[in-house]
């Protein structure tokens, strides 16, 4: 509470500082002053942001972030802009964005209304819905087939919350196990501890494609959510920086390069094991690319 009372004082203090020539504020000023921008990456969000065979962060969201870095560099008319990379996890991404360690979080973070109270998101780069993956041998293809069975989802995700709600609403009598991370949740299905793993469909596709027997798994036909947007995360209340990032991503999505980059990660073999996700761009995302938006509302897409 006391901190909140301090904020106006701090702001007044900042305002009293002499304005720089271009009156840069916030992140843009920080980038100009330090000559560096820091990207946050995830270590296993295939294919958005993950470590390849050489332990170098790569991915679809990383490619987009590098485009943003170019745009920031051009905007600030810098000759040289150093790009620093900083690993983040689902637990550290908010503090690291808030305290200024990371300027852009390039991963697979769902953009929703609650989260927008804490951070800002740029234009949506992907849409995903909650489905489940199960072994073909267990003969389940719809959520109704799961009645009375044990399912797993990753703890602290929007998906586990959706399956909880769906379970209550439809009286399926599911036992819902929380797993620490995606790999472990998938392991639970692989070892038979759970029949199905409920998660964003794109992550399920990548886990199944990377498993020992990709053909042994099937992803459910129906989904329990509307497509939800993924966005690149940045600090809240930093309009000038957000505008640069929004403009850069919008231009990138509208250009043919946007589609090429998507295809590179979703329809072709990707490192490190040359798996192919086989997820061609769907109508909703095509629309989202034609008219870029940072709305957290699934109904908008």
């Amino acid at each position: 509470m006391r901190l909140r009372r301090l904020v106006p004082v701090l702001l007044a203090g900042l305002a009293a500082l002499p304005a720089s020539a271009q009156e840069l504020t916030g992140t843009l000023k920080k980038i100009k002053d330090t000559g560096a921008i820091t990207l946050g990456y995830r270590d296993s969000s295939v294919p958005f942001s993950y470590l390849d065979g050489d332990q170098k962060p790569v991915g679809y969201a990383m490619d987009i972030c590098y485009k943003v870095v170019d745009a920031v560099k051009a905007h600030l008319k810098l000759d040289k802009l150093e790009t620093k990379l900083n690993p983040v996890t689902s637990a550290t991404r908010i503090p690291l964005i808030a305290n200024g360690t990371v300027d852009l979080e390039c991963g697979s973070t769902t953009n929703n209304v609650d989260r927008q109270k804490q951070v800002a998101f740029t234009n949506t780069h992907f849409l995903t819905a909650s489905r489940f993956v199960a072994k073909k041998a267990s003969n389940v293809t719809k959520f109704d087939d799961l009645k009375g069975k044990t399912v797993v989802s990753t703890s602290g995700t929007t998906n586990i919350r959706q399956i909880n709600e769906y379970n209550t609403a439809n009286k399926l009598g599911l036992t819902i196990l929380p797993a620490k991370d995606h790999a472990e949740a998938f392991l639970m299905v692989e070892t038979g501890r759970a029949v199905a793993f409920v998660m964003d469909d794109v992550l399920l596709a990548s886990l199944a494609a990377g498993s020992k027997e990709p053909d042994a798994y099937v992803i459910s036909k129906d989904a329990i959510s509307k497509p939800e947007p993924y966005g690149i995360m940045l600090r809240k209340d930093d309009a000038p920086f957000k505008k640069v990032v929004d403009d850069a991503t919008a231009a990138f999505y509208r250009s043919p390069e946007g589609k090429t980059t998507y295809d590179k990660w979703f329809t072709k073999p990707i490192p490190p094991r040359n798996i192919n996700l086989n997820l061609p761009m769907d109508e909703a995302l095509k629309k989202a690319f034609a008219t870029p938006s940072d709305s957290p509302d699934p109904a908008m897409y």
Partner: protein, 240 residues
């Protein structure tokens, strides 16, 4: 820091639809306490037996005790959790493995057993240390009185040894309590797991972990106070 503090978040409804975020953390606290207590029962029972075995005259008993302690003390707890949860059902006969996997609350039972066996190795060391800290004359006096080995332990050695090791056993219990958080990796919804999911749902990271920290401190203080009380209660008059 550009962070939106919101201490009122604990009274917001959690998305799981079963109550507020505060309820969610408290349910985690209950699991933490229940897991710690159940694990402690196993740890204390096995730890005492193994600790005594390490001080027995029998070579075989000593070897077994040493083997147990070295096995469970030297493998990291996290690895042990994974071995119990993921590997054990695969090496058992198929029917048993399947039964184990389909057990309701499997993470809870696994965590209790794993933590119990792990903490037992540490309790055993302290029981052994307590017995060996006693003057050798006590054991001899027991024998001279015509007591059997079992009787010597029951009436002479253990009542003294337990009193000596009560303070380090308290630390061990506190460790045990905090080690329950490792069970979040196998899906037990204890306090730390709840704090993690709260920050993930609400994005109020600092509030969630502050609350968890405060709760851990409170239960630890309760344990320390209770242990202090117990210590005074069982102290032999004039012993110190």
């Amino acid at each position: 820091m550009n962070y939106n503090w919101n201490w009122g978040i604990f009274f917001d409804m959690s998305p799981e639809g079963t109550g507020t975020y505060a309820d969610m953390l408290l349910s985690g606290l209950v699991w933490t306490i229940v897991t710690a207590l159940c694990a402690w029962v196993i740890a204390f029972a096995i730890g005492s037996v193994v600790g005594v075995m390490r001080t027995l005259p029998s070579r075989a008993a000593q070897a077994f005790g040493n083997g147990y302690v070295e096995l469970f003390r030297n493998i990291p707890l996290l690895v042990q959790m994974f071995l119990w949860f993921f590997v054990l059902p695969e090496v058992l006969p198929r029917a048993w493995g399947d039964w184990l996997k389909q057990l309701p609350n499997a993470p809870f039972y696994t965590a209790v057993v794993c933590l119990g066996f792990f903490t037992a190795s540490r309790v055993a060391e302290q029981v052994r240390a307590g017995i060996q800290a006693l003057p050798r004359g006590q054991r001899m006096a027991g024998t001279a009185l015509g007591l059997t080995t079992a009787q010597t332990y029951r009436y002479v050695l253990l009542p003294n040894a337990y009193r000596i090791i009560l303070p380090p056993l308290t630390s061990e219990f506190l460790n045990n309590l905090k080690n329950t958080s490792v069970a979040l990796t196998i899906g037990l919804l204890e306090l730390t797991a709840r704090a993690r999911s709260m920050q993930e749902f609400s994005f109020q990271v600092f509030e969630a972990f502050t609350a968890a920290t405060v709760l851990y401190i409170i239960i630890n203080l309760v344990v320390v106070t209770a242990a202090g009380f117990l210590e005074r209660r069982v102290a032999i008059p004039g012993a110190r």
